[in-house]
């Protein structure tokens, strides 16, 4: 989005919010994160979601999944824990029902978030989604447990993260972003392994493993005991990881974690992000992403930023 604004000396300062992600031009870097925006439908009555850069749809698997037992949600200071367990209708239903429905109210390329419990499942889903012209980027969530190897997540080691990346790249020509888990010892080694395996970009961070206890019931709040912590509390940690990974890799980074304002978007980009995802904020304020998009040009002007692309990794 290019907004013209006449400033006091009469000159027109253009706040150019557009960014480019692996050949895909986004009007702005604001992208609602997977799992907080469904397949777009729940937000279309709140506002015209075409003002967004794009959005990443709900993590989708080969089979339909009910997900975890409830309670799945726990309140925290400056954040929340979720343990939804990848509830989704399955890749075929997404292609048959969700994408055609989305076409009625979203004209831009969407980001397809794909999850899996085996390398073959990731490849199967990505091969199916590769044929969908509405999908601009595939985002591969490697935070799922690898059921063949004791349930350790694919994103926990450089080798398994790279294995998923290679398998997915072999079946699609669309740009592939690997979404990394922060629950690891060395995020940089995993990001580099994905880059070497052919990833076109890195999304980070997914949620942090957390837990709450109901002290009256003396039991965990979440039925599954633990869940993913997100919200503004994680922003500094996410920012640090975006900084480290974007310094160590040549491929673009989508920054994610605790973003809730235009200033946070700018800070994330200064740390090295080319696009910025907004997650939990959408759940608390359904207009969060819209308000961020609308506030960006003003913040840019206040900070003397003409083009957002000028500040990527500037810190």
């Amino acid at each position: 989005m290019v907004e013209n604004q006449t400033i006091r000396d009469g000159a027109a300062l253009q706040a150019d919010t557009s960014v480019e992600l692996c050949g895909l031009r986004l009007d702005n870097p604001v992208v609602p994160a997977s799992g907080t925006f469904g397949y777009g439908y729940e937000f279309k009555d709140f506002y015209d979601i075409n003002i967004l850069g794009s959005f990443s749809f709900k993590g989708t698997t080969r089979e339909p999944r009910f997900g975890n037992p409830t309670p799945r949600i726990a309140e925290c200071t400056a954040g929340m824990i979720n343990s939804v367990g990848l509830q989704n209708p399955g890749i075929d239903a997404v292609i048959r029902h969700e994408l055609p429905r989305l076409r009625h109210f979203f004209r831009k390329p969407v980001i397809a978030n794909i999850s899996g419990f085996s390398v073959e499942e990731y490849a199967y889903c990505c091969e199916r989604i590769d044929k969908q012209e509405q999908v601009g980027i595939i985002e591969v969530n490697v935070s799922c447990p690898n059921v063949r190897h004791g349930g350790m997540s694919f994103g926990n080691s450089p080798e398994t993260a790279a294995e998923v990346t290679r398998a997915v790249k072999a079946v699609t020509t669309k740009p592939v972003f690997v979404k990394l888990s922060p629950n690891v010892t060395d995020i940089v080694s995993i990001a580099r392994a994905c880059e070497e395996a052919g990833a076109d970009g890195i999304s980070l961070i997914n949620t942090l493993l957390g837990m709450r206890i109901d002290i009256r019931r003396r039991r965990p709040v979440i039925a599954n005991t633990m869940g993913g912590f997100s919200g503004p509390a994680v922003f500094p940690l996410a920012l640090r990881m975006v900084y480290q990974v974007s310094k160590a890799c040549r491929i673009p980074v989508m920054g994610c974690g605790g973003v809730q304002s235009a200033r946070d978007v700018i800070e994330m980009m200064m740390a090295g992000a080319t696009a910025v995802q907004v997650g939990a904020a959408n759940l608390v304020n359904p207009y969060a992403s819209k308000e961020i998009v609308e506030a960006l040009p003003g913040e840019m002007r206040r900070l003397g930023i003409e083009r957002l692309t000028d500040i990527i990794g500037i810190a």
Partner: protein, 246 residues
């Protein structure tokens, strides 16, 4: 349809030791059925608090809530004149679009409030409304007289027998030999389950679950039904008796 808006507190007062009533002024046009809820943003709390609508008319809505944790405790300290950010028009609510002629309304504890607006709607449709309210003890009873003032026939049950029938709502229904052909219920899960098993008539039951967003985006409150997965916040909180899987 759901919308976000700012509402001004007109009154906030205790009904019992732990149950409070808050009256808010603001746009109520998105609230279209009894049994819908609002989701309230509270200063310093990350997630909103979902509270069912007790009653509403043009420009005002009444919420009745129980102080159970930090969020509701904070709500009880709010004073008239303060403003709150609400999402309104959430959930499906009860549907009165059926052939029932003699509806029974069954409420347990803080599940009682949404039945008040439902009773008003049913009475307006010209139906005699039978109400059974269940509480733990006499000091927790609220809205018995308010239902009676509407013109409902009210039976109260308390678990310790300190008021009305001694026992649960199911005890009261059986003891009073109430004549009804359909029921609407809201209350704790054990009450809903017992009612489901005890009553052969068809009905609608309103459920509760911990929610993230309240408008269907986070999938935090999904349950299984005979007709597939439903989100308590979006396709619920009211489920038809015939679709429930316990």
């Amino acid at each position: 349809m759901y919308k976000k808006g700012i509402y001004r507190i007109e009154a906030n007062e205790p009904l019992t030791e732990t149950v409070w009533r808050m009256r808010l002024a603001g746009d109520t046009q998105w609230i279209t059925a009894a049994g819908q809820f609002v989701n309230i943003a509270l200063e310093g709390k990350y997630l909103r608090r979902p509270i069912s609508v007790c009653d509403c008319d043009e420009g005002t809505l009444t919420l009745i809530y129980k102080v159970v944790g930090e969020g509701t405790e904070q709500m009880s300290r709010l004073e008239a004149g303060a403003e709150l950010d609400l999402l309104t028009g959430l959930g499906n609510g009860f549907s009165t679009n059926n052939n029932a002629r003699r509806p029974l309304l069954v409420g347990g504890g803080v599940g009682v409030p949404p039945l008040y607006n439902l009773a008003r709607r049913l009475l307006a449709e010209g139906k005699p409304v039978e109400v059974v309210l269940g509480f733990n003890t006499a000091s927790e009873v609220f809205y018995e007289e308010e239902f009676r003032a509407l013109g409902c026939h009210v039976t109260v049950a308390t678990a310790d027998g300190s008021r009305g029938v001694e026992g649960f709502v199911t005890t009261a229904i059986a003891a009073a030999g109430l004549n009804f052909d359909y029921f609407y219920a809201c209350g704790p899960l054990p009450m809903l389950h017992a009612l489901y098993n005890a009553v052969e008539q068809d009905g609608q039951l309103s459920f509760e679950e911990r929610m993230g967003c309240g408008f269907g985006a986070c999938m935090g409150c999904t349950c299984k039904t005979k007709y597939g997965n439903k989100r308590i916040c979006r396709e619920g909180p009211v489920l038809q008796k015939g679709e429930i899987i316990w």
